[in-house]
Amino acid sequence: MDPIVILHAGLATGTILLFAAIGEIFAERSGILNLGVEGMMLFGAMAGFKISLASGNVWLGLLSAMVAGGVLSLAHGLVSIHLQADQVVSGLSLTFLGTGLALVFGEGLTGQNPPLVPRFDIPLLADIPFIGPVVFEDHSLLVYLAYLFVPLTWYYIEKTRPGMHLRAVGEKPEAADTIGINVYGLRYLYTFIGGVLAGLAGATISLSVSPGWYSSQTTSGQGWIAIGLVIFAQWNPLRAAVGAYLFGALRRGILDLQGPRILFGVVNPLYINSNWGFFLQMTPYILTILALVVGARAAMRKRIGAPAALGLPYIRGERGL
C-alpha cells in the first residue's frame, strides 16, 4: 500500500481511459455518439499487439492500432452520418463487430512477447521528491505523451478556429452548414479521430500498461467506463484527465488491498479468503455508476449538458447526399 506505487500505477492505468475518453469527447462534441469504444479498443489492442509481434517494431504496432480503431470508427460514421441510422444501435453493433474481428484475428496471440513501448525516466524532473517518482519516473512514452495531450486538446477545442467549428457542428449543425462549414466532413473527421484514439488506448493496454493478449479480457469493459467518464467530465478534456487518473489509481489501490496479510493493523480478510476479492473487483463498475450519478446531479444544477445535437443525424432540407 505504498502511495507512490499506487499513484504511479494510477497514471499508467489512467492513460488508457484518458486516450479513449478524449477520443470520445472529440466524436461527441461533433455530435456523433459512438458507443463502440470497447470494440475499437479491443480491435486496436489486437492489431497493435499482432503487428508489433510480426514486424518486431513497436511503432508500427502503435500505428496499426490507431489505423485499426480509426477504420472501424468510419463504419459507424457511414452508418450514422450518411445513412442516418440510430447511433446507439450502430455503436452497439460496432462493439460486437470490433470484438468479433479482434477475436478472429487475434487467434494464437496469447502468450506471445512482442516488443513493447519503451519506458524511461525524465531527467531532472524525476529527482523532484514524491512528485518525481510518481509522475516522471519509469513510465512508458505513452504516459508522458498523454501529459502533453490533455492541455493541447483542451486548448484546441476552446481556443482555436477548428475547435470552434467542431463545437458548432455538435451544437447547431444547421448554423454551421448555412455558413459553409462541411458538417458531414467534420463529423467523419472527428469520428475517425475518436476511433484512432480508442485504438491507441487499446494498444496502451496490450503494448504498455498490462502487456499481452487475453482475448476479450484485455479491455474488460474499460471502453464503457471511458464513455461513462466522458459524461462525468461533461465533455471537458481536463476533467476527463482528472477522472481517468483517479480511476486508474483506485483500480490499482483495490488490487493492492488483496496482497498483504495485515492491513491497517488487522488481519486482512482478503488474505484469508480471496473470494472476497470479487466484491473488490466490482468497485470500478459501481464507482462508474456513482460517478455518473454525481455528474448528472452537477449537470442538472448547473444546467450544462451534452452537445445539443449529440446523436442526431443532420439532414439539410430534403436534399440527398
Binding site: 463487430l97 474481428l101 469493459g221 464503457w224 459524461i231 466484491f279 449537470a299
Partner: protein
Amino acid sequence: MTTSVTEPESRRPLFPYRLELEKRIAEVPRWLPAVTSLGAVVAAFLISGLILKLIGGEPLRVLRFFYSATFGSWPTFSDTLVKATPLILVGLACAVAFKMRLWNIGAEGQFYMGAFFASLVVLVPLVSPESPKWVAIGAMIVMGMLGGALFGFFPGFLKARFGVNEIITTLMLNYVAILWNNFWIFDRWSDAGFQMTPVFDRVYWLPRLADYAAEYPAFRGITLHLGVVFGVLMAVFVWWVLERSRWGYEIKLLGDNPRAAQYAGIAIARNVVLVMMFSGALAGLAGMSEISGVVHRLQERISPGYGFTGIIVAWLAKLNPFAVILVSVLFGALIVAGREIQPSGLAQLLQGLVLFMVISSDVLLRYRVRLVRR
C-alpha cells in the same frame, strides 16, 4: 468564386454520378422490411465468409457444418431450439425496453441475477425439495423474474430520478452481476471446491421431452424443455401489452416522443422504472429457464452472451414479439454451431455484421436510392 459557365477540368468530379437519397413519401410496402432484413443477413454471411477466407478458412465447409449441426436432424434442431429459448426471452426483454427507447443493454446481468435468485429457491432452500414440482418451479419463476427486475430497477430508478444514462449503468451492472454470481459459486455454494453449485434436485428441473422417452421413444435424447413454452407465451403476452394495452400505448408514445407523452399526462419517471423492471424480469426468466431447464446448477458462464445477442435479436425482429421467436431460432443455431466453429470469435463477428447490415439496410425503408448524374 466558382462561377464560370464551364467548370475547369480539374474541378470535374472523378466519378460523374452521385448517389441521391430521396425521401419516401408513399407508405413503405409491407413486404419491404422483411426483404431488406433478409438481404442484410445474407450480406453479413457473405462478408463473414470473405473474412474467413482471408484468414485461410473454408467458408463453404463451415456453412455446411453450420447447417448439419443446427437443423440437420431432430436432436440437433432441438439443441438449436434450446439455445433459442433464452434468446426469445432476452430478445423480448430488449424489445420492450427499446420500444420506449430505453437502452437496456444489461439483459446479460439481469439474466445472471434471474439465475441467482432462482437458485436461492433451491439452495437456501426457500422451497423444500419435498414440495410438489409446480410449487418448486413456480417459486423459481417468481424469484427469477424478481432478480431480473431488481437489476432493471436500479438503472431505471437512477435514470428516472437523476437522469443517469441507462446505457452505461446497465452495462456496468452486467459486470457486477457476473462477479456477484462468481462469489457465490466460488465460495458459499461451491460444490467441493469446484466453481459450481451442486446439481439441483430433480424437482427443480423444468420438464424435458426426453423425460417422456419411456412413453414416446421418439423423444429419446431430445433436450427441449418447458422454457420454450415460456418463451412463446411471453411473446404473446408482450405482443398484447405493446399492441393492445393502455400501458403499451403509453410505452409507444413515450418511445416516439416523450414530450408529447408528458403533455398527454403520462408519468415518464414511473414508466421508465416499470418498463426497465418488466424488461429485467423477462431477462431474469431467461436465466431461470436456463439453469432449471438446461444446466441444473448455478455455475460460471451460464450465458455465452445471450444478453447481448438479445439486443441484435430484438433489433432484427424490428421489436415485433413474434419475429423475435423466428430470429431467435436463427441465432440459436449460430450459438450451437459457434461452439465448434474456429476461430471462436466468428459467431460474434457475424452477429456484429448482421446488426450493422440491418441498420444500414433500414435506410432503404426511409429513402429511395437513385444514381444521378452530377
